[in-house]
Symmetry: D2
Subunit: 328 residues, 4 copies
Amino acid sequence: MKKIAVYTSGGDAPGMNACIRAAVRAGHYHNLEVYGIVRGYDGMINGNFIELDNRAVSNIIQKGGTILKSARSEEFRSPEGRRKAFDQIQKFGIDGLVAIGGNGTFTGAELFYNEYQIPCVGAPGTIDNDLYGSDFTIGYDTAVNTCLAAIDKIRDTADAHERVFFIEVMGRDTGYIAVRSAISGGAEMAIIPEFPYDKNVVINRLKHGTSDTKASHIIIVAEGHQEGRASMIARDIKEALPQLDCRVTTLGHVQRGGGPSAADRVLASRLGLATVEGLLEGRANVMAGIIDHKVVYTPFIDTITKRKPINEDLLSLAEKLNGRSYKV
Amino acid sequence: MKKIAVYTSGGDAPGMNACIRAAVRAGHYHNLEVYGIVRGYDGMINGNFIELDNRAVSNIIQKGGTILKSARSEEFRSPEGRRKAFDQIQKFGIDGLVAIGGNGTFTGAELFYNEYQIPCVGAPGTIDNDLYGSDFTIGYDTAVNTCLAAIDKIRDTADAHERVFFIEVMGRDTGYIAVRSAISGGAEMAIIPEFPYDKNVVINRLKHGTSDTKASHIIIVAEGHQEGRASMIARDIKEALPQLDCRVTTLGHVQRGGGPSAADRVLASRLGLATVEGLLEGRANVMAGIIDHKVVYTPFIDTITKRKPINEDLLSLAEKLNGRSYKV
Amino acid sequence: MKKIAVYTSGGDAPGMNACIRAAVRAGHYHNLEVYGIVRGYDGMINGNFIELDNRAVSNIIQKGGTILKSARSEEFRSPEGRRKAFDQIQKFGIDGLVAIGGNGTFTGAELFYNEYQIPCVGAPGTIDNDLYGSDFTIGYDTAVNTCLAAIDKIRDTADAHERVFFIEVMGRDTGYIAVRSAISGGAEMAIIPEFPYDKNVVINRLKHGTSDTKASHIIIVAEGHQEGRASMIARDIKEALPQLDCRVTTLGHVQRGGGPSAADRVLASRLGLATVEGLLEGRANVMAGIIDHKVVYTPFIDTITKRKPINEDLLSLAEKLNGRSYKV
Amino acid sequence: MKKIAVYTSGGDAPGMNACIRAAVRAGHYHNLEVYGIVRGYDGMINGNFIELDNRAVSNIIQKGGTILKSARSEEFRSPEGRRKAFDQIQKFGIDGLVAIGGNGTFTGAELFYNEYQIPCVGAPGTIDNDLYGSDFTIGYDTAVNTCLAAIDKIRDTADAHERVFFIEVMGRDTGYIAVRSAISGGAEMAIIPEFPYDKNVVINRLKHGTSDTKASHIIIVAEGHQEGRASMIARDIKEALPQLDCRVTTLGHVQRGGGPSAADRVLASRLGLATVEGLLEGRANVMAGIIDHKVVYTPFIDTITKRKPINEDLLSLAEKLNGRSYKV
């Protein structure tokens, strides 16, 4: 292997730059030439490749976003698009790829590898932590801390006014961000996609809670597949308990940004190195992850199709500390 | 004057606790007994008074929210409600009031003073900075810094994906938060209640902007009187410029919370002291504010009815640095 | 088991309050009475016990320090002191103890258990991460993030002035904080107690570094057993390379404070629960820790005497990304 | 005026980049060519000039440090050095200068203007806030907030252990940072260069304080002209009151770094614009400042020689809220 190329794709996540930096430096450490592909698969198709020396990635470890930009590519879904991408890869003489992203990124990489056999090793860059094959994904810890900072702020207002706050956090298919934010934020409930939402359960708890001493509540809602889910749930509650002062806050895109936390920088650095060393060991079509503090490579197909369940210990913890389950 | 009582009312703002602390300590410094009224006018009506010694307010200067809680009181709007409040004031022997809050707070205080002549001096506690009689209100600086932190985070994602972000900040009648956040966040535009919104102006600028080199845009939108105003504007733009990737984030209640900034703690401390010393000097029915770094007392009626315009220098600054006016 | 008591001892660490909260709530969940002992072993000797209901620990999960205070106790080192402590334990009818702290805390607990057989389960509360028996200790993640924030700030100045900065972080016997801060802060070197310090190695690297393009350097120094170690090293370097502009910053006690990170709150919550459930399962004289995401109980004697080595993967990572080893 | 050049000099301060950005954009708004001089007066002597378009200063408003770097120049102190600088200025055709810095910067600018009459307008970029001619200097608000964050953290530990903390902040000749940090941090005392330090006063207060209920104390010490001043004072106290657990933390260079606060970004933006518009109005040899929210130009000679006293209102405020004066 002589020349590798790195790209980011899908939603951006804090730590992607730290991962790019690590892959670039690891590449040079192992005497490879390293390129960056700008704008993910779109850039691959259009030949948007730039050479990256160590200097190009200095002073980026602390930055949010991705210096290589990210984009969704319709064209790459077609065999013609992938053909064009392969032509560019050949033109630049790239013989190894490092893909930083999530589900969609690896689906594309899997297809491409099966067609053209350019070795590709991925790193899980997504705040959602929903990838099988790594205990944590790059950006997850930062996103949870961002949610937590918002919860801490909102609790000030919730307490001052004795209100019920519904805080919507990211998580389409999984409640990872929601559960961890809820536990660390001391939230009373978390409503997550893993369990069916039953409005009567929530109503009963709030009834009980408010007849009790506690006058303010924070309920974390994973967005799920329905934009404005927290607003919808708040409407249910207001209808049933009109005496409650319910408010909704949707954290939105702030969750994707910001400088990465220490944990995300270390994770991203380890995985950036692991992608390159994986390629050099002859691996392909796999994602590098960390399981029990050790680097593990998992086939793309498994990261896409297998489900990583929410840690049961966390759910049990929430139940015991709050006296109530998150399985609403 | 022997006994004073402090209360917070209306939306909470970072620095209210620092203001309570200062009023309590200033009271004791001047040998007064100091009470806190819990839950604003509601607590006044219900006799929810607690004595506050210096110890009761230690270690609160850094806290968001208000230890005295806040509430809106329907009952206080009626003469009967205010009568009950007066009875409680007499029962506790209170001969001076310190009111921390905004427009609604001072409207109530004005009515109450006109009816019962209990001297009251106010302090401007609201993140909106929309009170005539003080250059800045308590909580405004913190709220702007909170917005700014969010803008800095969202810019990461905006740049990574080359998107247009509409960020909705608080401000029903005024664009104070919006303009200051936009200038300090380097936003391309701010849409504020002071000027009519013309979608064609925004569309033209984005057209020009995107034909140019710049691919990501941040537009700050003051909520105005219409919830979801940023979403509405984003829809206008998407319709006209479907090629743009537009996203909306509504910052919401995080803007009200959090530990106060240094500027807000100092402002709140100065004004807490000024309320008590104002009472001792025989003032009543006025709000203490800081204008050009000096304490100034302004009649409640003026703080309610007069309008504090947005600093023209800031609007002109935005125009010159961004090459475009905020007067959309 | 009917009544348990919780205490914190030794240097405080962010997350101790979250751990107290979890132990108290877990106790009540399991129908125990729960007491707090104020000021660690000193409070145990003096009978400074207070009952803690769930309300007493609400709204503390986000707070630094420890609501139970901490102190070093000379008297507890003597058999007479421990005898007095036992008398108090009996007087209050305590039949289980939860000890949150570090090495010294568990040394005391070990002695006390051997003499009086009151079951005690510990939780690792120390920023130093130097306890055998848990991958991470409570407070470590927060401390590293605090160091990181300082490094990010100092890098601004280092770059602006092209300086060499020596940043001293905590860590008497181990370089955990130093290594993780250095990797996540992108520092050029870390000087840690695990390896002998050779000034010539540092001098050679800085010579090479400055003859190269890079003009500013950040070097993390674990304090070790010598206060002002970073200053001493900086003097060595200035002597040898007088042309360099060397500066020293000692981060000091800010590393112990602040609201805990999400990771520390979750860890502290899990371990607080684990201490109580450990007691209920009949365990004693052990520390609850998390290894590979699972709760593990390790005898106090092992946590005190066994050494947890710095992760070799991290040292190798640093070497590959920076082209130079931390084994100075 | 056709071509202007901007430079930063002296200690860096958060907001310098925002000021550079504003000067550059204001220059282009007024159809000037704008250059940046790298490394202050040293770069001026060595012809280190780079042209700056609007793009060059995009995405820097949020960054600490200075993209133009800063350095102290021995050579510029000599007439020969300034002659060389003038030759470069002529070579590049620069007919106006914008100097961002402090005392030393303006001393150099004053000399240079008197010899060569190249119009120069300055902006006060220093965290110390010690420049006559502006209510606040660029970087001061951020530095105070950085100190405040550290004080808030240290208070956690001080409370947990019942300790006396001496926190040393920047300020060689003035106590601006110390006083504002102390008031907003709720510190018990501030020891500042404006007043003679009398150890007996401090000792007496601590005696009184500790015989009282309050067990932890935070004392802010401005560094003054003596490195390690806080340590020296702590030694005095330990000697007199050995029963106190005294600790020292020196905040050091973290105070200069970090992304600027909203207030500093707005101030820096206004002053960057004011420097350029000052030049266009024919001003020279003056510093642009903000007094009572309005732009004011003050001769360099006055900014250097006149003293801006600490606001008496703040000193009186501290005394009344803490029951004790900062005039130790």
